[in-house]
Symmetry: C2
Subunit: 116 residues, 2 copies
């Protein structure tokens, strides 16, 4: 009985602590949105391809084995999220990673999310 009380109190404490360090609703949404971007094999493929360097849409499509239209849509999503940037070179649009952060994430994921 006394034990029960103590345990309950401990749980209450834990709850308070948890709620205290919980990110804001907006923060959680933002974080979820970021992870969601990486939660799709088609987008991951694109990121791995671009890890090797700047490439045009056609080449990216070839590399990931997807239709131009589908790839364009995904590129837009990744660019809107600032994960990719692009520049025009003649008729082509060359896409590249905005920075190394995403690759870092993928590396850490391999280690800590047991992906291979």
């Amino acid at each position: 009985m006394e034990d029960m009380r103590g345990e309950e109190r401990e749980h209450e404490k834990r709850l308070e602590k948890a709620l205290g360090q919980m990110p804001s609703e907006a923060g959680l949404a933002e974080m979820g949105a970021r992870f969601k971007l990486l939660g799709e094999a088609s987008r991951l493929k694109i990121l791995f391809v671009l890890a090797a360097g700047e490439l045009c849409v056609e080449h990216i499509s070839q590399a990931v084995g997807g239709k131009q239209s589908a790839v364009s849509h995904q590129l837009k999503i990744l660019k809107d999220a600032k994960i990719l940037k692009s520049r025009r070179d003649g008729q082509k649009i060359l896409y590249s990673l905005s920075d190394g952060h995403v690759i870092t994430m993928l590396d850490v994921a391999k280690e800590h999310l047991n992906c291979d």
Copy 2:
């Protein structure tokens, strides 16, 4: 013209390199699935709550502000993915993080995915 040729060759090389270091289809799917688990605010909330320690379903539900049923569903998903484990204590089922890996991911995400 020569420039064009050289550039094209460079792109070909880059493509080969990219394809060479691309994870397998299965690996990409696995990785995507892992990220997808973290790509939902409702699940992130649960993980942050459990970062404070073991808690029963009712308390988790209170903490994340969700219905028991919805939380149970998400707990099952996270447990099936081995991110959470559970044990029975009387009528209650206590859930906890399987290990520290997920928290590491969340921390790295804060740094590299500019979440706050």
